[in-house]
């Protein structure tokens, strides 16, 4: 592990401006930002090696919240501890918050224009297609594994979300509880086998 050969103040500033720039130009999913962060922090600055960045990508994906923010938390912590974390998260969050504030304020006036309404109506069709395409791709991977409990879980969660007004948070926690039970059974079973 080699430490960045820059003064702490300059290093924090570089971290902040890097995240600010990356976050400003990251459209779409969270993995895009991880790719850009790898290019900046591994290839250009040499602050981390590639394996570390891959670990961060995996952890960012499996912890709750936005992948971009989680990746910023982990990268910032890795580069400069808690201060690094705050600086990196701040840089990541400022561009979308500022931009969406402006857009939100213009939205009502904007929405009244007929051409804008037409374009938005067409884009809604596009959004539906994009989301269903993602769902299709992910669902295919689940179906391929032919794990019947996973498939049943998928059907149950869909039914709960689609046909009831249940809070989605409750649904996710229930699924996590099923997974926890499976994990514990596997752990317990393994222990018995060894004896």
């Amino acid at each position: 592990m080699h430490t960045p050969d820059q003064k702490p103040k300059n290093r924090l500033w570089t971290l902040f401006t890097s995240m600010l720039t990356i976050s400003s130009f990251t459209f779409g999913g969270g993995f895009v930002i991880v790719t850009l962060m790898k290019r900046r922090f591994v290839d250009e600055l040499g602050w981390m090696d590639e394996d570390e960045m891959l670990d961060i990508a995996a952890m960012a994906q499996s912890t709750p919240g936005a992948i971009a923010v989680n990746a910023a938390v982990l990268t910032g912590t890795r580069i400069d501890g808690t201060i690094g974390m705050f600086v990196a998260v701040l840089g990541t969050v400022i561009p979308p918050v500022v931009l969406l504030s402006v857009l939100s304020l213009c939205y009502e006036a904007f929405r009244q224009l007929y051409p804008v309404r037409l374009a938005l109506a067409g884009m809604q069709a596009g959004v539906a297609a994009v989301i269903l395409d993602v769902a299709w791709g992910l669902g295919k991977n689940v179906v391929r594994k032919k794990d019947w409990i996973d498939l049943a879980l998928m059907a149950l969660v869909f039914a709960a979300q689609w046909f009831t007004d249940m809070n989605t948070a409750v649904i996710i926690l229930s699924a996590a509880a099923v997974g926890l039970a499976r994990g514990l059974i596997r752990l317990y079973g393994k222990g018995e086998n060894r004896q």
């Binding site: 459209f27 779409g28 999913g29 969270g30 993995f31 995996a58 952890m59 994906q61 499996s62 912890t63 919240g65 936005a66 992948i67 971009a68 923010v69 989680n70 938390v73 982990l74 974390m85 990541t92 969050v93 561009p95 979308p96 918050v97 931009l99 969406l100 504030s101 939100s104 037409l118 374009a119 938005l120 067409g122 884009m123 809604q124 069709a125 596009g126 539906a128 297609a129 994009v130 989301i131 269903l132 395409d133 689940v142 996973d150 879980l153 059907a155 969660v157 869909f158 979300q161 809070n167 948070a169 649904i171 996710i172 699924a175 996590a176 997974g179 926890l180 499976r182 994990g183 514990l184």
Partner: protein, 190 residues
């Protein structure tokens, strides 16, 4: 009070969305459309469109968009803070646990069960937007043209894998051009 509700709602979204923007979407929908009367489904779909076309995570974009409409700048900041706080706390905590236990059966079990659940939630979110697309916003009748656009875009995405932003802008442009022509001919689409 409204500030607290915004904070808590997006704290829940941040705490329970595992696996990125598409996983956060059904949770946001549940919080801002179903649990609280903050947005209509149509406004929510516009929000997703805007969030997809602008840089930054969907969660932060949504928190800002909803927050500013419900509680002004302070609402936007608190909602965004609520969204990122769980990730910051758990992220720095789990970094260590993950290294030690990532191959353990318990964590694998939990993550393994969350994956199919998240797929189901994303599917439901996509279908609810498709339902919205099927109904014409002005006339209230079946919108065959928009359904056809959605079906075409879906096939294109499956086969050619264009970027989501390109796909959405193309759909919008197509509907805009056809809509303006139709209006000029005296039979507006909506």
């Amino acid at each position: 009070m409204i500030y607290w509700q915004l904070f808590i709602s997006f704290f829940q979204v941040g705490l329970l969305s595992v696996g990125g923007g598409y996983a956060a979407m059904p949770l946001i929908q549940s919080q801002v459309v179903v649990q609280h009367p903050w947005l209509t489904l149509s406004e929510f779909t516009d929000l997703i469109t805007i969030a997809e076309m602008t840089p930054g995570p969907i969660g932060i974009n949504s928190a800002t968009f909803v927050g500013i409409r419900i509680g002004g700048i302070l609402g936007a900041l608190l909602a965004s803070l609520g969204f990122i706080l769980p990730g910051c706390l758990i992220g720095s905590l789990l970094a260590n646990l993950y290294r030690r236990w990532k191959d353990g059966p318990v964590l694998q079990g939990v993550l393994g069960a969350l994956r199919p659940a998240v797929v189901a939630l994303i599917t439901a979110a996509g279908l609810s937007i498709l339902q919205l697309v099927a109904v014409n916003q002005t006339t209230g009748s079946l919108d065959v043209f928009r359904l056809a656009i959605a079906a075409g875009a879906f096939c294109l995405l499956r086969w050619k894998k264009p970027s989501p932003i390109f796909t959405m802008i193309s759909c919008g442009a197509l509907y805009l051009v056809v809509g303006l022509i139709a209006q000029a001919m005296g039979c507006p689409l909506m």
